[in-house]
Amino acid sequence: MSSQDTPEENLPAERAADDSEHGAVAVPGEKNPFADPGLPPHEHRIQDIDERAARRSERAVAFMFTLSMLATVAFIASFVAVPVDKSIYVFPLGHISALNFALGMTLGVALFCIGAGAVHWARTLMSDVELADDRHAIEAEPEVRAKVMDDFRQGAKESALGRRKLIRNTMFGALTLVPLSGVVLLRDLGPLPEDKLRHTLWRKGKLLVNMNTDEPLRPSDVAVGSLTFAKPEGLEEHDHDFQNEIAKAALMIVRLQPENIKDKRELEWSHEGIVAYSKICTHVGCPISLYEQQTHHVLCPCHQSTFDLSDGARVIFGPAGHALPQLRIGVNDEGYLEALGDFEEPVGPAFWERG
């Protein structure tokens, strides 16, 4: 304890010295009117003095244990008898799986009754006389402490670890290095990031394929006020890497009145008011799916980031940090919507190397 430490007088006094050690009754008197009166005398329960009440308790406990047995039998019977696909109407739950309901209720009753029986038994029939146990300090007596310290010093001295520095240093070196093998082994958990997060499947000339109909989109398919989801041509649900690719390439397409588009670049990259934006939120990557056609706002349902599609998809509310990337689109010779290149910036959540 340094001199700056709390002086002893700032600590509250140990509970009054005339406090009972345990159980012994201290007479409250002149010295301490608040003295501990000691353990109160035991009060008998009805079961302690009336054998008939005790019998009733016994029967109640036995009844609950019996109920549990019956419930287990009912559990097995339901398992065998109730078909797995049967549904029943239970008020007020509605239509629910009959088997789940039967198994759950019977198992629940079987378990609950064991517990209720045991607790009732403990509360009414087992002794409720309170007992006191002494506590002992957790920390060791000074002699024990001295012995341990001596033993340790002796052991340390015999090992000569402190004296033979060469052994000590090389041992620490070896022990420090050996876990490196474990770290190195983790290297193949995955590839390095490289520029994987910067590219998607979109290329110049890739058609925009409607996610629902699987047909390439024409400008006439995109009505004002509608929200269309699209994927790059050639990406099929059965493809091995479908999930990884769609996680980056998913697109949402809306048609605005060209005069409503406030952002100059957005207008340039659009076609007849049709704009294509990444569907992946720039916050933490949820797919954006809510479109408010009057205001041209899209809302991410996960964390409510809101983007204005008529103004370069800039963030107007919520936790997202930057605008949705736009895909430059046009129309090919056959009149289908096509991409005019990949996204110019990485889609999805921001990351350190994004820049």
Binding site: D36, G108, A137, G190, A247, H303, G318, W352
Partner: protein, 541 residues
Amino acid sequence: MSTANDDRRKAPAGERVADWADGRLGIYSLAKANMRKIFPDHWSFMLGEICLYSFIIIILTGVYLTLFFHPSMNEVEYHGSYVPLQGQLMSEAFASTLDISFDVRGGLLIRQIHHWAAIIFLAGMFVHMMRVFFTGAFRKPREINWLFGFLLFVLGMFTGFTGYSLPDDLLSGTGVRFTQGAILATPVVGTYISMFLFGGEFPGGDFVARFYSIHILLLPGIMLGLVVGHLILVFYHKHTQFAGPGRTNKNVVGMPLLPVYMAKAGGFFFLVFGFIAMLAAVASINPIWALGPYRADQVSTGAQPDWYMGFAEGLIRAMPGWEINLWGHTLVLGVFIPLVLFGLFLGIIALYPFIESWITGDKREHHILDRPRNAPTRTAFGVAWVTAYMIMLIGGGNDIVATHFHLSINAVTWFVRIGFFAGPVIAFVVTKRICLGLQRRDKDKVLHGRESGIIKRLPHGEFIEIHEPLSQEQLHVLTAHEQYQPAEIGPAVDENGVERKVKGSQKLRAKLSEAYYGDDSQIPKPTAEEYREITSGHGHH
């Protein structure tokens, strides 16, 4: 045959088995100390039991689920008995979860018991932690056990998260995506951690198998060790108790382990298990068939994590989208700050016992629990912490709050943003006031007795209410708490008039000590003199 052996043979079978075991394991010395160990009784002491029992239930049901679950992300076409999803592409993980739910008899029940038990486990730990906090049960010698409990809570959160991510349904996949997005926000190493965790780009084909081994082996293994350690320490320290007649810092008063506590605690296990089984029978949890399999480009509205992840969700939703772009790098503060806050916010409660013991300078053992009112600053701090937690929980469900109460999502978010800072301050001040008010009332009761509600008219016409003196037990309980005096730095100059050097940490400590135990922070408890003066004055006031 010797007579000793004859005696052995005559002993009951149970005793012979016990002798056999004692000869090999030395169980008698263990039983001597523990078989009739005393456990104090209080309703709040069963909160920890709920956690232990739900943990056991989770392990039992979890082992069953591993027998049927396929932790694989291979895409399969579904041909099981749930008609609406037939023919759909989905991962084997999702398909096998559908099988557990619709084809394995009792599978759905066990799944729902598993999930409900997990929710109750985390809720139980939260409330148990609050009990320990507000009663000061974390004080010496129990600081390490507080840390064990804290670690269990945090690991429980991540075990829960990795668990509900396994079915690979639309909701959980969205949660995994959120996690991956948050990992990406880590400066410098974010993209590397993400690539290594997912075996490449999100979602890849590895995370279910990896989460599976984390969920069923790594985290529960550590947790099991911590639970055992936690229990050993509870036995070793002996349970805390509230002040009361015959209860001192040097004893423990209650019922013996055998038979009362064993019957009550053992019975309580069955009560908890039975309750959760019935809950699983009537209340559906995580109906993955209604959500469908995960697709990286799809999402459902109203996506919510399990409750214990809600405050982290709130942090991420309420944070403004700050991003700093410098020298070709992006610092994603809008996501990274919530990530750091998540750790700090939990960390401060983990370290609290050490902070408080530093302020008090108290190195004694404490086995008598505080009533929360008698530690006003601690109680106020705890309530402020819980307030911030709850506000973030609201923030995590801002869309749900908005749709249910017909509020603007922007307004709810702004409420959360402001509330996160203002709420704890208000809660702190209000709680401290309430505590001091309760302390005053206790003092009043001790000195003037209990209001009896009986109005008496005196001969000269005055009406008075009769106050009944408290029993000795009540007098003792209401005055049993300890009160610290604020630590002082001492004079600025020493006896020779030379300026003393006072370390900044000492000044801070003195300030905190004043805040904790100064005149504004506790009502001095009644002294024997005050009591005598008033009670000997006859008449009632």
